[in-house]
Amino acid sequence: MTNPLSLWNFYFRNKRKVLPVVGILALAILGVVVTDSLLASARETAYATFGSYQKLILVAPRATRDQDLANPLQESLSRLRDVQLQVDSLDGPGGISSYYDAVVALPARLRGQLPSVQQVEVDAANARYYAARLRGDLVPLGDLIVRVQRLQSEEKSFTQLVQQLTERPNDPRPLITYLQQHQTWLQSVVPDSAQLGRLQSAVISASADANGLQASLQALSRDSANLNTSGQSLANLPVPPSPSGTIDQFKSALDRLTASLGSIEEPQPGLDKLLADSARIPGTAFVKRDAYSNLDINLLAGNAQFDLYGVDQPGMAQLLALYGDRVAAGRLPRPNANEIAVSEEIARSRHVWIGGQLGNNLDELDRLPDAFSVVGIIRGPTRIGVIPLDYMTQHYLFERRYQGLVVVPQSGHEQVVHDQLQKMIGSTAFRLFDWPYIKAKIDSLIQNLDAINRFLVILVTIVLSLVVGLLNNLFFRQRMNEFGLLAAVGYGRWALIRRVAWESLGVTVAAWGVGIGAAIAVLSWFNTSFMVPHGLVMNVFDWNVLLLHTLPIPLMVFLFGMSTVGWQLLRLDPISIIERRD
């Protein structure tokens, strides 16, 4: 004979009342597991995304006043104006054109006697040609410099606007003022802002033409000297005066411009010395120059910049070997090509594969200029992306200025190498990024979400405790006759409390189990259908989340429910129930 008051009888016969409670609790537990798992996933994905820092230290230039392009740009613009004036002078009175005209005007008889006149004619024509070209080059060059300057100042205004909005998020006036002031400018300049690399090609073109002009002018000087010497041997030859003074002035103006433009292209001062010095630090495995860049990827907790290492070909192979990664499909980028090889998780998160394209042309948050073709998919324990150093430094002005180093310590020497590097850098305009720093940043980011999540879990637990406690009480009142009778016929109060405790415990444990089971099912599905295809990391069987993080819900619900019902049972007077006439 079975015990009629057994727990099984209670649950089975009261399933209409028990199941909704189990359902509510299970749903809450499911919710907690899902939010906690997503949060854990955000953290794990962030760790995986920046996992390459676990084995290397990135030495990156700090943004300083020297690093700011504004100064060399302004200087270059002044120099350019000087050169423009000098080019105009070359073409003006006493310049190349008038000299050329004078030489051409020499009598044909004389020109036949003096071959050097013909040479002067050719060189003067060349000089005129290059001067015209240079004049043409300088217009877009000046325009590009102005645009870069304005873009830089716009960045400062924008930073200031962001700061104002951060301080007073409810005050839209700064935003409105900014848009009113900059609307026209934004419309005219922003579409071109992605093509700032043209500045460098304009500089190269102008330099080539300036070199041509200089060569022509030198030849012209030499020829005019020859002509003068020859002319002196002929009586009454009206040899025109050479424009050597104007040419000399132009040369010095051009030299100043060339030097100024050169300073725009220079990387951070001291990088070469740092490269050599860091390679000598004991415990350093290898050091590589790095024109690093970034890809915009989604980490669930928000977008993040995935670091790309701009290294030479041996460096790419060294990095892959360092992490135990391999090229699973395709190949590594070729030298001096806009190509990229990237980990498959990152490729998935950006929905690209071999033949796909990445870069600022496609995603304005990519700090990878223009467009790069994906040529390799990397597979292995660490997520990594590599791009060619030479392509980055030879094609992109800004990237040239933001070169850094990748310093790889030997295993176990990370802290020593870090400390030595830090000491070496001192107050220079470099900064170190290593795993402890990156991890602290990630943790700080997740910490806020963690706090929100904890608050929500506490809120859910409190609300659920109240709701289920209330349901318990209602259910208990419906069973008052049962408890009154049992107390009257000889069941002690503590026996009744124990009975109710087992009943409540069974419900909460069942709900806990159902909730966790449902959570595993939902997370498995979500992981397969969304997380993995997007390159996100999720541990479905994180028992810390599944058990420990959800424990407060059944525990609180049980304790709260039992405390209210237990209190009533302790004060239970069977006679008051027996005597009720309802």
């Binding site: 004979m1 016969r13 006759n481 009778l485 009257a488 016929v489 000889g490 069941y491 006679i575 027996i578």
Partner: protein, 217 residues
């Protein structure tokens, strides 16, 4: 076996004291059928609560088989009630989610084959042999009360206390219920104490005690 000596039960309300039971002495012999009658508020139910140990008296003593309730701890008194007494109340107090047979075995001390057989036998005896698996809401009020009687008898108690067992029943059904208790007594099961305000229900009683204002007349 069950004896009460100078039992007093007072209810205090502020400075006022109401004597629900006022210096009552009586003995319930083994196998006897005692009827307690009286108007509402006369103290008959209170006397039954004192005799069954459901309430502690303000004064006086109750003994059962030589055990003075005053000397028993709450736990022992509860155990005594569970082992030796059976109860039938005005309401049936059946557990809604249990069948008739299961409700009967709620009162059992041991749950074995014999008890199950005896529970079935009791239900057959009270005319519910074909309704063993019915739930309380599937039974009439009279049938529910008969299940409550079977529950009170299933552990073969020494004394069955019935407090207004027929109050919510029609007369014929009420007679059936009381006669079930009388049968138990006649079969040598134990004593029966029936509290009622209807003297017609006590035709088979050995003694009928009348209460008024907390005293036995």
């Amino acid at each position: 076996m069950l004896a009460a000596q100078d039992l007093v039960l007072d209810y205090r309300s502020g400075t006022a004291i109401a004597h629900a039971v006022d210096t009552v002495s009586l003995r319930v012999e083994r196998g006897s059928f005692i009827g307690l009658i009286g108007p509402s508020g006369s103290g008959k139910s209170s006397l039954m609560y004192l005799l069954s140990g459901l309430k502690r008296p303000t004064g006086g003593a109750v003994t059962f088989d030589g055990h003075d309730y005053r000397e028993l701890s709450a736990a022992r008194l509860i155990r005594l009630r569970r082992q030796h007494f059976g109860f039938v109340f005005q309401q049936h107090f059946l557990v809604n989610y249990l069948s008739a047979i299961e409700n009967v075995t709620v009162g059992a001390l041991r749950r074995n084959h014999d008890t199950a057989a005896y529970a079935q036998e009791l239900l057959r005896r009270v005319g519910l042999g074909d309704k063993l698996q019915k739930r309380p809401y599937q039974l009439s009020i009279g049938e529910r009360q008969r299940v409550a009687v079977a529950r009170a008898l299933v552990h073969r108690p020494a004394v069955v206390f019935a407090d207004e067992p027929t109050a919510s029943l029609d007369q014929a059904t009420g007679h059936e219920v009381v006669s079930l208790l009388a049968e138990y007594r006649q079969a040598g099961g134990g004593s029966v104490v029936v509290v009622t305000h209807d003297p017609a229900m006590l035709t088979g009683a050995d003694r009928v005690l009348q209460m008024r204002d907390g005293r036995l007349n």
